[in-house]
Subunit: 848 residues, 2 copies
């Protein structure tokens, strides 16, 4: 007898029953689909979210009506059915309905051992999860003598009641306990962490058991048709005779492989008909459910049942391959394939990963600041890292925190570990930019600089040269060299990205400072460079010396001389960048940082500098003193430096124009974009523009060559956004530097926020860390104001974002909405951004 | 023959001639007024701005027509007549028209010596100012033999031409050279510095000479009827026989006093009729010109002429007294008296001043950061200043730059001199707040800390204890004790301010942190305290210790204990403030600065702290290290500290409420205002509010007393302004802290801006230093946005400004326009603000 309508709080799962994912959960819906495909699913009923919610609230369900669906004395399972399988739920309960009477019957029909096993399994699960008794008392195995009797006695001892014999009581209590468990605080927090809404509901599935034990061939197994890690087509799974549920996957050697091969007996050998039926079912599911499904099946007396089916758990890479294959096979549309890949999941593909299946010995846990795995030798200084690299030994830079002087060291390292800092510390930001795996804020470590050692909280000592592994995806640092998985920019990935680019309607550029960055950007199909920070170019050794000479120059002549030595190097940098980018736009930000970043901070460094410059140490310390600032973020940097020391920008403009001519001669024509940092007033732009224009005119005359270029402004101060209409009079583009803009809008230093940001986000003071997720309310309003005013003054102005936020799907959505022309992000985020932009375009189309 | 209309580029000055200040200049207009009063003014014609401009451009004026006005062979003077006498102009030229013929006649009529003197004076002035010959060659005095002939010869030698004999040529050349001089670059820059517009015009006055030399009593003199310094009624002036122009003022002992007294012969003795006529004229002018005028007169053969009359030059204090007296005498209206006092001029009245007439020996010149004069002994440390004060010796604190740790030292000093910093450096801001004369950025000084000496650029050495004088009005530091003028809060000042308060329509409060500040604020009739910074209260010795113990507390219990020791001190502070303010509103800002400001920066200080806390030095340095910040301005301070260490705000709230009860018991009822600093998100306010409310509830229960209070927000971050509608849901007032708001809107640290602000303002990159003059375009828009959104959410919200800008007339105009309820400024700016606000109200009424 099958009931069609939910008149008692439950719905039998039939082809036509009103079952939906958002009312009964994904598992219920999936089972209905299996039923519709005429697959051998045992009798099943589904309890809706509402019904379960009422049960949790104390309402008694109509158990008798439920039991009536299944015929006389059924054995039943109950499984959770949440809207999204990732949100979890209580574990399955099997063999509900068993009692002394039924046990006696099963002893006759299935043998005593099978009957004992079924009963014991239920008693144990019930005692622990429903009666909440001490799990230690219910650990016995069915192979132990009198295990069942002991469990029943233990239950009676602990509860002062006999184990419940009435199937209706059993089922009612199981349903109640599962409903309650879902509403518990821990479960709620766990699923919210996975993105579930606060009021996410739980459905429950009650299903007739296919026992998997008994005298004829009985057992249970799991089968899927793709590899979870690679996503490649491959039949995998396990079968275990005389088992229930997913026991086959836990059984290790005892379980059978499914396909016939060299490794001994297989399910294909044992039950060829069942095997064939499973393969047929798998193919059917892929086509009809338009997904790669894992099937849980049971054989009872030679008859196969499909108990359950779930989407194959898979790596990000496998997810891409599966989606592309489904689209290529015509099963889903390309747009569907694109939308099936969460943009952020791509970052997992773009770095080598520590193999999660390998052995791992973590010695500290910090903040996972930049994803990927890296293995190398500990280096406590940037110099050591450079030396290590030159010896061909991979280096892991380990610092209390990094400073701009460590850039070279970071370039020379394969990974970074710092004791201090948060997601937005220098180390974290630069590492993400460089695509270096990075763990920051490993505050439990003790760094003993004097003796050059690292001491973990459990007292393990690491010395320079010791090999460790950084897992930037989990935030752990591991002892020794962990096993790694290579990054996979395979054909499916490239196919997916090409499909994404076809639908995308906002540009994606990369922030790239070095030829290596630029090459990465091109490899990831960035549409140009949106932000090339030039200051990194001055930290290389010979340049640093010239830079310091310039800083110490007493006369304009000496300053010009030092800059003249930097000119050819800068020209070389830009020529190479232009050549790598092959005519794509390159937006170069003029020199930005305060000069003191180029001076040593230690006594020793100052002494060396005094020697190098042949000046008294007191001169050096006095100059360093004079350049020191209370708040360097808000000090003498960016365009302020450009205006008070015009020689620097003039040298850079010349280098850019000469490189433009050189690169255009040998390749595609180049039209460089020059960007002025830290603008707060229109006149700053006007002044720099007139000087840059003059340099361009001079270079044109000297070289007898013509070229064009664009001049624009990096909008990083609130005032620049508010005065964008004025600024746009002298700027052909505005690019929002949301890192600094966020700092100034909040009055919050990125480097200092780490000390309270966690607590702030936890207390809900800020909904999100605004350095991670663009603050659309405050900073975002300045972006909107700036873009609108900029366009009012110059309708064809190019508007973009080039902060760290540029690679975040949420920020891209905001910028696209505000009509930005492009976003620019770190090279390794480019694919994420391209895919996220495609999602937005598709969702817009779908919505409209 | 008098001509009435300007048909030839000039206008005879008659009662009805069309002469106006904005077309012919102030002197022309004033002379016309004298004519209208029937005073004995020699025949005069006025050249308009246009006419002079044409002359400068090369057009020839109709000299013959001009000469015709004066009758046969006149001797003439030419004087400048700019729109505002302060804008300057070329010097007067006398005796135009004299030549050999006229000289001969004058020898007959006036005697040779007089004739020679007249001719020589003209030849010298013409040679130097018109022919531009070397002044050294024309220095001879008429008493030298053949001085006239020598001058004529020198002229002929240098120019290869005879001295021009044609009066028309003489007058034409004089007019041309004076017109040209006005349009020269230097003159233009000078008058623009005094506020003249770029196209300010010059009129010229041509007047028949009253010669002041001759056989009968002849001479010239100057008379005025008030004292220039005090403004008190007092007839002063000088008269010199046989002289012209203002020679009497330069003549020293040779000149006569005007009134009859013990010092020998006076004009009153010599020419009693002339004296009486002058006194009558003075009274007439005061009543009719409604101003205290200085009169320039000439006696020729016993007949008195009035040549010219100008407004009496006067001190700011005299200006107040004169205006009030004119109003009290019914000559001008009170509103006119108010408007005649430039608000900023009051600050001159509120501090002792270095007597500008005294001898001064400056050893360095820096930036005049806080007005007034102060004299005391050099102290190189705050400790030395405190010691000096306790010995009863006035201290001048001399530092490279000051830090918050110097607050006590500044309190103990009478003036401050720093080597570094600008108008907005710590020293400058605090000194203005304290009303301490201050000179900053005296970068030519060398500070030798080791040997405790100060070396001036000319090598003079000053040691601790040496006496110097700071002139915060001129920016100079002087050797020794200079003569001083006392501040004059006299009856006229108080009368004027009471008149101003009657018309003012925006509130004025004071920023006051200490009882002394509060007393000053009351003395200057502030309508309450708009900003009481509480952190200054923690720098006193015993409090600093408790503060540091709190910072070093490992457990919440220890922190609470340290705070418990601070509680009674804070309560005492607030009780005293409430009592001083006598029921007027007091707005208390909760603790704001980063904790590291309370820790020592030197090795020695750290060692002492380690001893005081009985902890190892390494503990101390580690904590200081951990608290150090990259950008303290943007770090862990303000409400961020209040949220992460709630105990501090809870202690402060308790102290405020307990003080409220205590002060209300003994005096007027107090309703304290509690202000939360550095807010960037609504939830910060919500959290602090709920804690403060809880403390209030607890105090009410404990004390069985009721009280009310207000809670509001200091809007200092751009985001707080943008989100004011949200924030206003939990705030009954918003006070804009424009110091920090400017820093964040520009991305510009006040402490670091000094290094380029001058050059920025000079190049016109910023129109003004935004820390001096509120940036109405950028920061101002955030003020408008914040005020509007705040009011939208809560129509009865109180809006105010409490940054340094609060005392500036421009900012007050902006805030009044935006409908702010009050401005708050440093106590010494309160009268300025009150007067400025009165001006705005009057000008508005006048405009409407």
């Amino acid at each position: 007898m099958r009931q069609e309508v939910d008149i008692k709080g439950f719905t039998p799962v039939t082809k036509s029953a009103p079952i939906a994912t958002d009312s009964h959960g994904g598992r219920a819906k999936c089972l209905q689909r299996l039923v519709r495909l005429d697959l051998p699913v045992p009798q099943t009923i589904a309890l809706s979210f509402d019904a379960v919610h009422h049960i949790a609230a104390g309402q008694r369900p109509d158990i008798d009506a439920m039991l009536a669906v299944f015929g006389p004395a059924p054995l039943l399972s109950v499984r959770p059915s949440s809207e999204d399988p990732d949100w979890g739920g209580p574990g399955a309960m099997l063999n509900i309905g068993i009692n002394a009477t039924r046990h006696t019957q099963l002893c006759d029909s299935h043998g005593k051992r099978a009957a004992d096993a079924l009963y014991l399994r239920f008693v144990q699960a019930y005692a622990i999860h429903v009666a909440r008794l001490d799990p230690d008392m219910f650990e016995s195995d069915v192979s132990e003598p009198d295990a069942l009797a002991a469990a029943l006695d233990a239950y009676a001892d602990e509860t002062d009641e006999e184990f419940p014999q009435d199937p209706a009581v059993q089922l009612g209590e199981v349903l109640r306990s599962m409903a309650r468990a879902w509403e518990g605080t821990t479960a709620r927090l766990l699923r919210q962490a996975k993105g579930a809404p606060a009021d996410a509901g739980l459905g429950l599935i009650v299903q007739q058991m296919a026992l998997g034990v008994g005298p004829q061939e009985s057992g249970s197994g799991v089968i899927q048709f793709v590899d979870s890690v690679s996503g490649k087509s491959q039949l995998t799974g396990r079968y275990l005779s005389q088992s229930q549920g997913r026991a086959a996957l836990r059984a290790g050697e005892g379980a059978l492989y499914l396909t016939r091969d060299s490794r001994g007996q297989s399910l294909q050998d044992l039950c060829p008909d069942v095997f064939d039926a499973l393969v047929t079912a798998g193919d059917l599911l892929r086509r009809k459910l338009r997904e790669e499904m894992q099937i849980e099946f049971t054989i009872e007396g030679g008859r196969m049942s499909i108990i359950d089916s779930v989407r194959v758990t898979r790596s990000a890479s496998a997810n891409v391959r599966v989606a592309v294959a489904l689209a290529q096979d015509g099963i889903i549309r390309r747009s569907e394939a694109i939308l099936r890949i969460p943009p952020r999941s791509l970052s997992e593909l773009l770095h080598p990963q520590v193999d999660p299946r390998g052995a791992r010995d973590p010695f500290v846990s910090g903040i996972a600041a930049s994803p990927g795995g890296a293995c190398g030798r500990i280096c406590f200084t940037s110099a050591a890292a450079q030396a290590s690299q030159s010896r061909g030994e991979a280096a892991i830079l380990v610092r209390r925190e990094t400073t701009p002087e460590d850039i070279r060291g970071m370039h020379s390292s394969v990974g970074v570990l710092t004791q201090r800092g948060g997601m937005t510390s220098h180390a974290a930001v630069i590492a993400r930019g460089l695509g270096l795996p990075c763990v920051v804020g490993a505050s439990a470590l003790r760094l003993d600089h004097k003796d050059k050692q690292l001491i973990s909280v459990d007292g393990r000592i690491f010395r320079e040269g010791d090999i460790i592994t950084i897992d930037g995806s989990t935030g752990e640092a591991l002892v020794g060299a962990a096993e790694m998985l290579a990054p996979t920019l395979d054909a499916p990935f490239r196919t997916l990205m090409s499909w994404a680019d076809e639908v995308r309607d906002i540009g994606v550029r990369a922030n790239a400072d070095t030829p290596a960055d630029a090459a990465t950007a091109r490899n990831f199909d960035a549409e140009g460079i949106g932000l090339c920070r030039t200051e990194h170019m001055f930290f290389e050794h010979d340049r640093l010396t010239a830079m310091r000479e310039m800083i110490f120059a007493d006369a304009a002549k000496d300053r010009a001389e030092a800059l003249a030595r930097l000119l050819p190097m800068q020209r070389g940098d830009f020529t190479e960048l232009f050549q790598i980018m092959g005519g794509q736009p390159v937006c170069i930000r003029l020199f930005d940082p305060p000069l003191h970043e180029f001076l040593p901070h230690t006594r020793g460094g100052m002494r060396e500098l005094a020697e190098a410059l042949d000046r008294p140490l007191s001169d050096v310390t006095r100059r360093i003193d004079a350049l020191s600032e209370f708040n360097p973020m808000l000090g003498m940097r960016g365009v302020r430096l450009g205006i008070t020391m015009p020689e620097i920008y003039e040298m850079q403009a010349r280098a850019i124009f000469e490189a433009t001519i050189e690169a255009s001669r040998s390749g595609d024509p180049v039209e460089p974009e020059i960007m002025i940092p830290l603008v707060s007033a229109m006149r700053e732009v006007e002044l720099v523009k007139s000087r840059v224009d003059a340099v361009a005119a001079a270079v044109r005359v000297e070289t007898q060559s013509d070229f064009s270029y664009k001049l624009g402004v990096m909008v990083e101060t609130p005032r620049a956004a508010l005065r964008a209409h004025e600024i746009a009079q002298h700027a052909t583009f505005l690019s929002f530097g949301t890192n600094d803009l966020t700092q100034m809008t909040y009055g919050l230093s990125r480097d200092d926020a780490g000390r309270f940001m966690n607590s702030y986000v936890q207390q809900g003071v800020y909904a999100e860390d605004p350095f991670q997720i663009l603050d659309t309310e405050g900073v975002g309003e300045l972006l909107t104001i700036g873009a609108e005013r900029g366009r009012d003054a110059r309708p064809d102005i190019t508007i973009s974002i080039c902060g760290e936020h540029g690679g975040n799907p949420e920020s891209i959505a905001f910028c696209r909405q505000a009509g930005f022309d492009y976003v620019s992000c770190s090279p390794y985020r480019v694919p994420v951004a391209r895919l996220a932009a495609a999602h937005l375009a598709l969702l817009d189309k779908r919505g409209s």
